[in-house]
Amino acid sequence: MHALLILAPFLGSFILNLPFRKVNKRLSFGVCAALFLLQMAVILIPDFGLNKINPAALANIFNFDLGVDALSKVMLFCIGLVALVTLCTNSLFLKDSDDKFNFINVLLIAVSGMNGIVLAKDIFSLYVFLEITAVASFILIAFNREELGLEGAFKYILLSSIATVLMIAGIALFFLVSGSTHFAAIHSALLAQDKSLLINLAIALFVSALFIKGGLMPFHGWLPDAYSSAPAASSVFLAGIVTKAAGVYVLIRILVSIAGFSLTLKSVLLFVGAFSAIIGAIAALTQTDFKRMLSYSSISQIGYIILGVGTGTVLGLAGAALHIFNHAVFKSLLFMNSAAVEKALGTRDISKMGGLGSQMPVTGLTSVLGSLSCAGIPPLAGFWSKLIIIIALWSAGFKTYAVIAILGSVLTLAYFLSLQRSVFFGKLNAEFKNIKEAGFSLLFPMILLGVITLGVGIFLPLVLDKFILSFNAVLGG
């Protein structure tokens, strides 16, 4: 069944490009939305019809080795959600129907790549799908062919290719050590041997490569440029899910399935996580570009996720996964807010804004929800994931890091409050008296994500224990 998650988006994109493009163009939005909705449904509802069918014919042709656990499920759901939201955002921003169509195609390829990353159980396959995602991301960043976007894409290509080189070198070393590229085989080979220089080198290469992909400090150089210069919809997609799937998820997968958690590795993760969380937040404080501020905020939040992973405990992993989900929700939401504001005002400079809340009430309200969730204010969803991460840090004995995490939260609140104050509150600039709220196709996903943030925050405690327990299996094997 899961093979379909990879195949369907690709085939969708492939078929859309066959003849009858005029019909296809009209269909494309619906097909794409349906695919993403199906993906979410498959994950969310275990009894969903598609989950039961396992076409024998398909199994005979495709002998894919795929695996699903709680972490992958969270990722798959996030991918579906953010892709759907990106689709809606995009339909408002691109006027040209050809552009819209092309964007949808690239989006489908990226989703196919990310689903592959999440499902792969072989390190080389994982690498291949990472590349698919990377290629699709380049195209998405440079999609408008504006100078800044091209520059951002170029920086992403360069640093991403460095990451690729490091990763492929790591894969080669793993292969050298174990003679296989399968997760389980490498894991058992590593267990059988002492931690030699070679293995340490391989792990260092891999971890660094994934830090680059995930945009952790000090490996983050490409991220603010790429996020802020990309088209609105691409920013939502990149910040919402791509870096999480390509960087953070793979990192977790490598650690859980291959490298295991040694104390040294944990210290590296915790340090880098805390460093990103704090420095990212501090850097966000003085940004004047709406999207740049959100980019640094992303770096900071990814730092939190890595802090959770760095504990090496079930609780920490569950917290990290939950934060990935929450981050996907609130950061997509915030990037959409910034897109709405940019569309209305034609600028991203915060210092020129003010009082937009009265003109754009939905955008203002949802951005407050997103910001507060990001800062970890109860009862929003972000509170629970941060709380779990902090508790995990504390109970794992990393009390200093727990305190740092709390401090980071304060900083997060600080920059978001200053953002809110200067964008949505205060006096309206006379220049922007006639601006209007964004269109429905942007408002709908905003409201949807706002409701999710609030709803998850309120109802999560009911299923929290179940959610955390499901991560036992992730760590256990």
Binding site: D98, V106, R145, L176, G179, Q193, L197
Partner: protein
């Protein structure tokens, strides 16, 4: 062993030349040279299938593509080329030094890289590997190719002029 070392050194020199040479044309030739030397190493290591791929695609096809694209551009005048060369030297003068230092470090460390290599699996045929063992990778490669082509089409095709 001695031969390996010489070939490796040659590879490094070729790569350095590729980066620091004065024109794009020479750089693409350098790239072909690097691939060719890499092919030698692969043959030497009994990876004949990979060597053939490397020689045909990386040393053959890609430089041809590069050169054909470069030939469409305006070539630099000699003066500009010298200027370009100078700026590259100024930017990359430390590159050989770094490579040299890294090389020395790696050679010194190589004594410590003592991995217990597992016995190699029985050599399966390339066809079996591709179509049965690495089926997923193959799908991935197809998607990458599709995506790449699509990307080129999207990014470099002249868009319709809007009314």
């Amino acid at each position: 062993m001695f031969l390996d070392l010489i070939i490796l050194i040659l590879l490094v020199i070729a790569a350095l030349w590729t980066v620091m040479t004065r024109s794009l044309l020479r750089a693409s030739l350098g790239l072909a040279l690097v691939s060719a030397i890499l092919t030698l190493i692969m043959f030497n290591m009994d990876a004949s299938l990979a060597a053939v791929f490397e020689l045909s695609v990386c040393a053959g096809l890609i430089p041809v593509l590069f050169i054909s694209v470069i030939s469409l551009t305006q070539p630099l005048t000699f003066k500009e080329a010298v200027e370009h060369m100078r700026s590259r030297m100024a930017r990359f003068w430390e590159l050989p030094l770094i490579v040299l230092i890294l090389g020395v470090i790696l050679v010194l460390l190589s004594a410590k890289f003592k991995a217990k290599l597992p016995a190699l699996e029985t050599q399966a045929s390339a066809r079996f590997v591709l179509w049965h063992l690495r089926q997923l990778d193959l799908l991935g490669q197809i998607i990458i190719l599709f995506g790449g082509v699509f990307g080129v089409a999207v990014l470099f095709k002249e868009r319709k002029k809007r009314g």
